[in-house]
Every structure is written in C-alpha cells, then in structure tokens.
Amino acid sequence: MSKKIAGAALMAIVLAMIVGRFTVKADEFTKEDLERWQNEYMSVVEKGRALWVSPELGTNGVACAQCHPNAANTHPETYPKFQQQLGRVIALRDMINWCILNPLEGPTLALDSAEMIALEAYILFERRGVELAPGKH
C-alpha cells in the first residue's frame, strides 16, 4: 500500500517537472501583466460606476448617485459591521441590496452577481487610501 502511494507521488513529481518546463512560473509576472490586470480591474470599476448612475438598477428611476455622489457616505471600510438598524453584523453587499430594495424600489441582486461585484469595485475604488475600520459606526 505505502509503496503504491510512494510510487504515485514520484510519478506526480516527475510529471510536474516535465509539464513545468512548458508553463509560466507562478511567481513571475511582467509590467505588461500588471498593466493588463489593472485594466481588467478598472473595466469592472467602470461598469460599477455605470450602474451607480443608472436609473435602470431600480424601478423608480432613482440612482445610487442621487444620495451618494462619488459613492460618498457608504463607508465600505467599516464592513462587515453591526448594522444597528438590522440588529446583526452584515457585509457591504447586504447594504447595497437594502438600498436597491428600498429607495430604488428594485429587485435585489444575487450576492455573487457580476453587477454586485462591479458596484463593490466602484465603491471601494472611490474610497481608496482610507484605512480599514471594520465594525466602525
């Protein structure tokens, strides 16, 4: 039994060495990679901004930006926190859905949807540089 496992492990190591010769090394990336990743990220931030000012996110034409210009007064650095009005600790995306449901009178987003991630990306982008303060009210 143990011989079998040792054999399989050896095979795996040899295979990894062979395959490894033909793939990139995980800990190495170039300036071009960094640029591409930043652009990918910014394209989602831009989608988030488009949703932020969109009258289509809810049903009554109200947009997030009407109350939160530049996503101000959303305090993403404080989440998860005890949302005293709800009586429990929640994440930023729960509050995003609360706003969509109430002032925007719209259907909530799936918590792992592309739209939700884009909204979070935009909110956090506008808050860049601010120190983390989880739990702060």
Binding site: V53, N60, G61, V62, A65, Q66, C67, H68, P69, N70, A72, N73, H75, Q85, W98, C99, N102, P103, E126, R127, R128, G129, V130
Partner: protein, 358 residues
C-alpha cells in the same frame, strides 16, 4: 381675581400655556424687544426634486417630503409673512415634474417666492418654470428688509449652447451632482449688472437678504457646492451693514461668515447629501464655523431632510431647522461674535458623535 389670589384652576391653565410655549423652538417665539418693522418671520422650503417615472407616476419618497413640508408650514404659529422655495422643484426639468410640484406648492396658505435651481433650468433654460413663477431674478422690499433672488446656476455659454447634441443632454449632464462633464455655476455678468443697479437705491443700513440656489461661496467645486463669481457678488454686497445669503443645493446644514455677509444653507425635502469631506479623493472647504447635521440614517426615510422657519427680528437670519427624526437646530446671527452660531452645538464640547462625518 387679584394678582395674589390665583386659584388652582387658573394656575394649571397658565402652567399649561407655559409648557406649550416651552415646547416650541426658540425662534418661533416672537421677540418683543425687536424693531417692530423687522419683527417678522418667513418659511423656507427647498430641493424637492419631484421625479417623474417613465410610464407614469412620481417617486413616492420625494413627493412625501414636499407634502409634509407644505402641511407643516401651513400650521406655523406665528404665521410667516411669506414662503421661499429655494429651487430644484423638479429632478429633470420636465413639465410633468414642475406641474406636479407646483400643484403641491399651491397648497401653501402664503405668498410664495421661487428660486431657480439647475434641475428646473437645463431642459429648456427655465422657460416652463418662468410660465409658473415669472422672472428668473427679481427683488422686493418687505417691512424694512430688501430681498433679492438670483439665478445662480447658469454656466458658460459654450457649455450650455454649443457642446451637446440634443436639448435634453445638458439637463442629464447637470443633474448628476458628481458628473465630471458638469460645469461650474455662476451668477454671470448680466445679473451682476442688474444687481448693482438694484442695490443703488437701497440705503446702506437696510438689511439685505439674498436668495440663491447655489452657495455664493466656494466649498467644493466637484459637486458644484460653488459659485464661480462668488467674490464679484460679495463685492457688490460689501457696502451694506447687514447682508445674509440663504442658499439650497447642498441638502445639508452649512453656515459661514465672510466679511459682512452671513451665509446659511437649507435642508432638502427630498434627500440629504454627504458633506464633501466624506469623499476621500477630494479636498473640500467646509466653513470652519459649520457644525454639521447628524449623519443620515437611511432606515428613516425622512431623516436629514426638513424645512426652515426664519426670524428676521435682528435684521439678520435666525434659522430654525425643522428636522423630522432629529432634534431641531437653530442657527442665528450672534452680534457678540459677528457670526451665525448654533444655539446648542457651537462649542466643541457640546458636539455629539453623529455630527462626525467621514
């Protein structure tokens, strides 16, 4: 009944009346020692942003704000001499919105003066608004005070007339507070010339009160908490002893003193705005004098919105903020300091945690 013999019943009666008086905000009690001529009040309602929903209907939340402000203003005692509506009656300047807002404002039992806001203006450059409310800028005298209303939300001609492919586009661009395609507000040369002429006939010791939609001072350009030619307007007002500017647009408590000019902002009836310092990427110049309003609690729909009752007894503005889910605030000109001061929170040790904005 003699002065000394007060029976229990009449004592209770007067005690009850006293209790009722002590419940009213200070500024609602008329000041008996004031100059009788200037001893009057007016109410200020602003920024209702009545918003038409495509396919019919209006945003309920904003409607409720204006309905409540009108109903409460009608219950004021003592009665105000008039009401000012401080601009942004509509959200996108549409006829439907202006008509619906005008219908609600028509329920006021008092003469109403209106100020132009950018949300009323940029769809048709104020044409339909004018059909309802008349000229874009004007002045009048009331009990020894000279009142002026300016249209402070115009901008560069090139931006207004030449940049956009459709008539709707400037409205949509200007409606986004944080839209980088916007353009700074200004009073402009034409109105400044008119103002200079209007002020020629006013004695220097006559209190002057100016209403505008945008702050006639520079706080944060990114959200147009700003008037580009503020200093030029200040220069015209400089020769007068008592000058007050009251403005809307910012949806929050602000006050300041610049030279002889006291400046006061009013609340929106629709929704509150964050203080510019809560936008981490910007530098703002909120007047040091201002003790901010409490941070808004979104779970109370009308929190951090409200309307104002203004007492003119001192010749300057004593502004009582009627805040629906918070303790009311009073910011009045204090002759001792020569600035507006909050009656409860001006000393830093009196401030409370919700007044910290970040």
């Amino acid at each position: 009944m003699t002065e000394l013999k007060m029976n229990r019943r009449s004592f209770l009666k007067s005690a009850g009346a006293l209790a009722a008086v002590s419940c009213l905000p200070v500024s609602m009690v008329e000041l008996a020692f004031a100059d009788q001529k200037k001893n009057f009040t007016f109410a200020y309602i602003s920024d209702s942003h009545i918003q038409y929903i495509t396919g019919g209907g209006f945003v309920r939340n904003w409607d409720r704000g204006l309905i409540r402000a009108v109903a409460e203003t009608n219950l004021l005692q003592p009665k105000p001499d008039f009401v000012v509506f401080g601009g942004d009656l509509a959200q996108l300047g549409m006829k439907e919105e202006l008509d619906h807002g005008a219908e609600m404002l028509a329920k006021l039992n008092y003469k109403t003066y209106c100020v132009m806001g950018e949300h009323d203006y940029y769809l048709d450059l104020g044409e339909y608004w004018s059909k309802l409310y008349g000229p874009h800028y004007y002045s009048w005298d009331h009990k020894g005070v000279h009142f002026i209303t300016l249209n402070s939300i115009i901008t560069y001609d090139e931006w207004t007339h030449e940049r956009w492919p459709t008539a709707e586009q400037p409205m949509l661009e200007m409606a986004g507070l944080d839209n980088p395609n916007g353009s700074p507000f200004m009073v402009g040369e034409e109105q400044r010339k008119w103002l200079a002429k209007d002020l020629e006939k006013v004695k220097k010791d006559t209190p002057v009160v100016l209403f505008s939609h945008s702050p006639i001072q520079k706080i944060y350009k990114g959200w147009n908490f700003w008037t580009e030619d503020a200093e030029d307007v200040h220069a015209l007002l400089k020769p007068f002893d008592d000058v007050t500017v009251v403005y809307g647009h910012v949806h929050q408590i602000q006050y300041n003193q610049i030279g002889n000019i006291s400046l006061h902002a009013v609340m929106a009836t629709a929704w509150p705005w964050p203080y510019p310092q809560s936008y981490a990427q910007a530098e703002s110049h909120l007047p040091k004098l201002t003790v901010p309003m409490n941070r808004a609690d979104p779970f109370f729909e009308r929190d951090a919105t409200g309307w104002q009752f203004i007492n003119m007894a001192s010749g300057r503005v004593a502004m009582s903020y009627n805040l629906y889910n918070n303790t009311n605030r009073t910011v009045a000109f204090d002759p001792k300091t020569g600035t507006p001061r909050d009656s409860a929170y001006q000393n830093s040790e009196n401030r409370i945690p919700p007044q910290t904005h970040y």
